[in-house]
Symmetry: C2
Amino acid sequence: MSRVSTEDNGGSDPRRAIELLWGVAAPARRGPKPKLTTADVVSAAITLGDADGIDAVTIRGVAEHLGVSPMTLYTYVPGRAELLDLMIDHAHGELSVPEPGLGWRAALTALADDEWALYHRHPWLLQATTTRSALGPNSFARYEHELRAVEGIGLDDVEMDAVVTLVSGLVRGTARSSLDAARLVRTSGMTDAQWWERVGPVLAGIPAADPAHYPLASRVGTAAGQAHNAASDPAHNFRFGLARVLDGIETLISARSEGRE
Amino acid sequence: MSRVSTEDNGGSDPRRAIELLWGVAAPARRGPKPKLTTADVVSAAITLGDADGIDAVTIRGVAEHLGVSPMTLYTYVPGRAELLDLMIDHAHGELSVPEPGLGWRAALTALADDEWALYHRHPWLLQATTTRSALGPNSFARYEHELRAVEGIGLDDVEMDAVVTLVSGLVRGTARSSLDAARLVRTSGMTDAQWWERVGPVLAGIPAADPAHYPLASRVGTAAGQAHNAASDPAHNFRFGLARVLDGIETLISARSEGRE
DNA sequence: CTTAACTCTGTACTGTGTACGAAGTAGAGG
DNA sequence: CCTCTACTTCGTACACAGTACAGAGTTAAG
């Protein structure tokens, strides 16, 4: 199956998974010396994922990369799902903390830029579901830093949570488009331009697809396409979206401070 | 593999796929009467997807549901990837057109609500990648209607495109969280509350996870959790996010009209 | 009637996660 | 030192994917 994306865990024992995330494993008291560590496995998996996407992160693949038989990995990791969770939290450890004293707008921008870059370094991050597995130390720390950026600007706790979730969601969404587009170029071997050269004529031969039926779509689509030199420009969508979202947050903050004065 | 999500096409012949999307297939001139139509296959696939997610949409499963052998489907559809594309465009046909004359804010809200509902009716939509396959008639029509909502309010073409992409991206992102959360409850058999009952004690036993290390995160996380009666509330995130985004767009529109006056 | 196009299907190949059980290793208890 | 037992490693095997291929059966065109 030519598969490409978000995968997730079934309902395995959460205890073991959390202990692995936080690195609290009682070291083995007996038996042969392990050849590997859980960290080795995670790091090999990340190498594979960076190179060829989440689908390349197979038990067999990781094992081969480590020079070990597939079943050996189950000593270090309960299963593939938990391995993905470990990869995710590990990658989030690469995120840097924004300089303090930046002001909420600059701080949120820095966080967003950093996250955007992270997803582009590790595209598989957006191919794996996070829900409920954001319980690792690095994910916790990230949330803490995001909140710090919007603390003391007149929002209540629930609003602070909503604001950082909103910004983070924007980054995830636009980065996802960006990565999907890049992957499509790779897998299809065609750039956007080449693709349209192939597809344009086919579409032109279909009466129902006449641009006259979609006047706005064809005008605006063409304009946007020319402005960006591509059918879509996720980086622009990211910057544009962030600007709008921050403006919207600003409006909220103003409303709150007016209400109090 | 316990898989859960966005999948996509490799690099198959786009011509056949587009002809299927637009329904321009030269009917067979010879041979036995087909038992099925492509529409039958698509509709069976959607039934399966609605019931059990994208992973339930297997060639074998769809074939069985239709009472034919698996290989038979390849007469109607080039492969699984193209079947997903057809499902996507078909589902987008369910979207309604907003009443005309609503004003951009109400119109965008109506579009967003409609899309939000669509994703909840057909959760598999967000498990399948759309990029470059948004070439079907219903996807085209949708883009046209979105643009109509923001026409004539002082934005240029590139901005109009960016605005509808932003709103649509917000819906996709928040809906995705919503569906991921719902699926997790289903697959794990635990509600959010039950989950935290299991996980809380484990986390409490880990020194590094001491709330004191994450003061803001624990305060705000707790507050948000209590306010929503759940660890996260995607529906609230959707409404909150949409309000912020629309405010941000309003700021842009004001800036544009001031600049021109 | 012949032929060519078309539908349908059984078999088979590759690749996946992982359950199971056997084999080997090394510290703990005596 | 010997034995036990926890531990690591790994070969085999199973269920389930997508789909390539080849053959059999069916129908309209010439």
